[in-house]
């Protein structure tokens, strides 16, 4: 009998404790996410895959600085130190995020002493929930050939570019299709004034520090004589402060317009070169 009374008392204490616990939990604030449908993180590791722009944007009030290098063909052998003895094409670039979805940038490269300015806008953001299944961005750019002594007037030195970037991340793998159009105000010989291309960019994150990437840029329709579709592969390294991209590519150029117009090397025939990009973001 006493045992029974003790058991009842124990049950009552346990029940009261449970009720108090539940009441205490109910008194807490309900936990709510600030953004119930957040965007997918890091489709690509930098705003350039290698030579093709990606949907990755520069955050608001951030300045992304980029240094891009490509050297001579690796098949030059040890005599040319696998292309590093041959002239490098270097592009220095800055891109500022005016908004998390809108940025503008400027760059200058060795070849043609080309100065290019661009604007990029992210129209859609892929969301974790899948409510927006893809990322969509547009980029427009104008380039100016500043090489002296060519006899060209200002307008003849200009070229224009527009591209649409459609990307999706699936697990650790990201894929981007980039229809693009380039226009050159003046061209030499039988070169085309207008070029269309379809850039394909792929990325595979191995972990938080390393990822692999590849890009392929076929020219669609008429193309310049003696040019070939460009291919490239890269290893991306995130050091915490910088993104390093170490790559092999067939084209020595650093923007899509001139990659389409001037690549005369065939990646699949072993005609590729070493290059690297370095990205560093500063906050303001």
């Amino acid at each position: 009998m006493n045992v029974c009374k003790f058991a009842n008392f124990g049950f009552t204490v346990f029940f009261l404790h449970l009720v108090l616990l539940v009441e205490s939990m109910n008194a807490q604030l309900p936990r709510e996410r600030a953004d119930a449908d957040p965007p997918v993180d890091r489709l690509f590791w930098a705003s350039y895959s290698i030579g093709i722009s990606t949907v990755e944007s520069v955050s608001a009030r951030n300045l992304n600085s980029t240094v891009k290098h490509t050297f001579g063909l690796v098949d030059g052998g040890i005599d040319h130190f696998f292309g590093l003895d041959d002239g490098a094409n270097t592009r220095l670039g800055l891109e500022y995020g005016f908004h998390d979805r809108f940025s503008m940038g400027i760059g200058r490269m060795t070849f043609n002493k080309l100065v290019d300015m661009h604007a990029k806008y992210n129209i859609l953001r892929q969301t974790v929930s899948g409510s927006t299944p893809v990322e969509l961005a547009v980029k427009t750019s104008v380039g100016i050939n500043t090489f002296p002594g060519t006899g060209r007037d200002f307008s003849e030195r200009l070229n224009y570019f527009v591209s649409v970037m459609i990307a999706r991340k699936m697990g650790n793998f990201s894929l981007q299709a980039t229809p693009m159009y380039a226009h050159f105000n003046r061209v030499s010989g039988n070169n085309e004034k207008q070029l269309f291309g379809l850039g394909i960019v792929a990325g595979l994150a191995l972990n938080d520090r390393f990822s692999l990437g590849a890009e392929y840029l076929p020219v669609i329709g008429d193309r310049n004589p003696g040019t070939y579709d460009t291919a490239a592969v890269t290893l991306n390294i995130d050091t915490g402060g910088h993104i390093f991209q170490l790559f092999f590519t067939s084209s020595q150029w650093h923007n899509e317009s001139f990659i389409m117009a001037n690549n005369r090397d065939r990646f699949w025939e072993g005609e590729f070169r070493f290059g690297f990009n370095i990205h560093r973001v500063f906050g303001f």
């Binding site: 807490q28 604030l29 600030a34 993180d41 955050s59 951030n62 974790v128 906050g283």
Partner: protein
Amino acid sequence: MCDDVRQDVVYITDSGHVEFTSRVPLHTFTGSSDHLHGLIDFDENLVDFYLDLSTLKSGIGRRDRDIYRTLNVDDYPFAEFTGTLSTSFDQNSSETQQVEVQGEFTIHGVTRNVTIQGTMQKQGEELYLTAEWILNLEDYDIEPPGILFYRVNEEQELRIEATLNSAPKEEI
């Protein structure tokens, strides 16, 4: 407690300020959020705060995303404290008073019992609160992010500051 202390109100905020300071060799950076949610119920002696960690901003978007990955925000989106006031607080005084809370702090899916000192001040119908403490990342199974050969210091300095408004308890 005096007779004119109302027991049918609580103090709440959804815009408290949180700031953390991280140190790496030769460099210090801070991050902050103005999305701290909080509730203080003197009648029930309940102190409850939470922060959506994805609202923390350090000024560099890429670094923010590194922080979210380090904290595994997708799986553990909140830092939370639920506890009680372990010192007295005179609601009839407008003076700044030293207070202490005891309770459970949870981040990265790990819960620890903590005691935190701070100040509270009654300002009319509002309650102004500040607190500072050190959070050790290792205590919460958070691996300090590294940059090449050095890593972020395990000890993070945290500071919160919030103005809580009084609200009828039945509306909460």
